[in-house]
C-alpha cells in the first residue's frame, strides 16, 4: 500500500552549479554529493527540505520545493 505525500526537498539547477561543495558540508543528513565533480546531487529519500544548502549556496542555484512523492505506508 502506498500514499501520495507532499514534502519539501532541495532542487539543484545543475547547469549553473559550480560544484564547490559547500552544500555537502552543511547538509545535516548527508543527502548531497558532488556528482563526478560536475554538479551537486540531492538524494530525495534523505533530504528533509531544511534549506541549509539553499542558504549557503554561493551561486544560489538551490531551491527548496514541495514535491509530491509516492511513499510506502509502514
Amino acid at each position: 500500500m502506498s500514499t501520495k505525500q507532499k514534502r519539501r526537498c532541495a532542487m539543484v539547477d545543475q547547469s549553473a552549479c559550480v560544484a564547490c561543495g559547500y552544500c555537502v558540508k552543511v547538509c545535516p543528513k548527508a543527502a548531497i554529493s558532488i556528482f563526478k565533480g560536475v554538479y551537486a546531487w540531492v538524494d530525495d529519500s534523505l533530504c528533509i527540505g531544511c534549506g541549509k544548502c539553499q542558504k549557503v549556496c554561493p551561486a544560489s542555484v538551490i531551491t527548496v520545493e514541495v514535491k509530491e512523492r509516492e511513499e510506502a505506508l509502514v
Binding site: 549557503v56 554561493p58 542555484v61
Partner: protein, 195 residues
C-alpha cells in the same frame, strides 16, 4: 559534525597571506594551490579540492559565516553566467602568462627586478620591505612578487564578493574552480560516450 584535519586548512591560507608581508619568497608555496586541484581532478578525484581542501573557501566560510561579514545576498545572475566565469578564467590566464613573461624578462637580463606587488592588475604597491635578497637568481624573486600579486588580488576580490553577496561567492568565478570543473565535465562526457 565531526571535524577532519582538512577542515583547518584555512590556517594555511591565512598564514600564506601573512608570510607574504614578511618574506615574499614564501609566495612560491602558493603553487600548491594551483597544482594540487588540477592533479586531483585530472587523476579522477573530481572536485575534492574545492569540496574539502580549499583553505581559501574555508577562510571565506569562517569570515562570512561565523564572523558574519557577509550580507548573505544572491550573487547577480551575470556573475554566475558561463560567459563571465569563462571570461574571467581567460582574463586570469592571460594575466598569469603576462606575469610569467615579466619573470622571463628578469631571467634573461632584459629588465631589472621590480620589488612591487600589483593589486587588481592596476595598483602598484611598494613591497621592498618583504624582500631581503635571495640565494637564488633575481627571477625567483620576480616570480614571487608576481605570484603573490595574483594571490593577493584574488583574495581581495574574494573578500569583496564575500561581503557583498554570500561567503563563498568567490567559488562561483574562481579560475581554479572553473578549470577543475571543466576537466571533470570533459571526463564525465568521455565516460558517457564510452558507454
Amino acid at each position: 559534525m565531526k571535524k577532519h584535519w582538512y577542515d583547518y586548512l584555512w590556517i594555511f591560507s591565512a598564514v600564506y597571506l601573512l608570510l607574504g608581508f614578511f618574506n615574499i619568497l614564501f609566495a612560491w608555496l602558493g603553487l600548491l594551490c594551483f597544482f594540487i586541484p588540477l592533479i586531483i581532478s585530472i587523476c579522477g578525484g573530481g572536485k575534492a579540492y574545492c569540496n574539502r581542501y580549499c583553505g581559501r573557501g574555508q577562510l571565506f566560510e569562517l569570515l562570512g559565516g561565523k564572523f558574519g561579514l557577509s550580507r548573505q545576498k544572491d550573487i547577480p545572475a551575470w556573475m554566475r553566467s558561463k560567459a563571465f566565469r569563462y571570461g574571467f578564467l581567460s582574463f586570469f590566464l592571460i594575466m598569469f602568462i603576462n606575469m610569467l613573461w615579466n619573470t622571463w624578462l628578469v631571467a634573461s637580463g632584459a629588465s631589472n627586478l621590480r620589488e612591487i606587488v600589483t593589486l587588481l592588475w592596476t595598483f602598484k604597491l611598494p613591497w621592498h620591505w618583504a624582500y631581503h635578497g635571495t640565494l637564488f637568481a633575481p627571477w625567483v624573486a620576480q616570480f614571487s612578487f608576481g605570484f603573490y600579486s595574483v594571490m593577493l588580488t584574488s583574495t581581495v576580490l574574494g573578500i569583496v564578493t564575500m561581503v557583498l553577496f554570500k561567503p563563498r561567492s568567490w567559488c562561483v568565478y574562481c579560475p581554479m574552480g572553473t578549470m577543475t570543473q571543466m576537466i571533470c565535465k570533459a571526463k564525465a562526457g568521455n565516460l558517457e560516450k564510452a558507454k
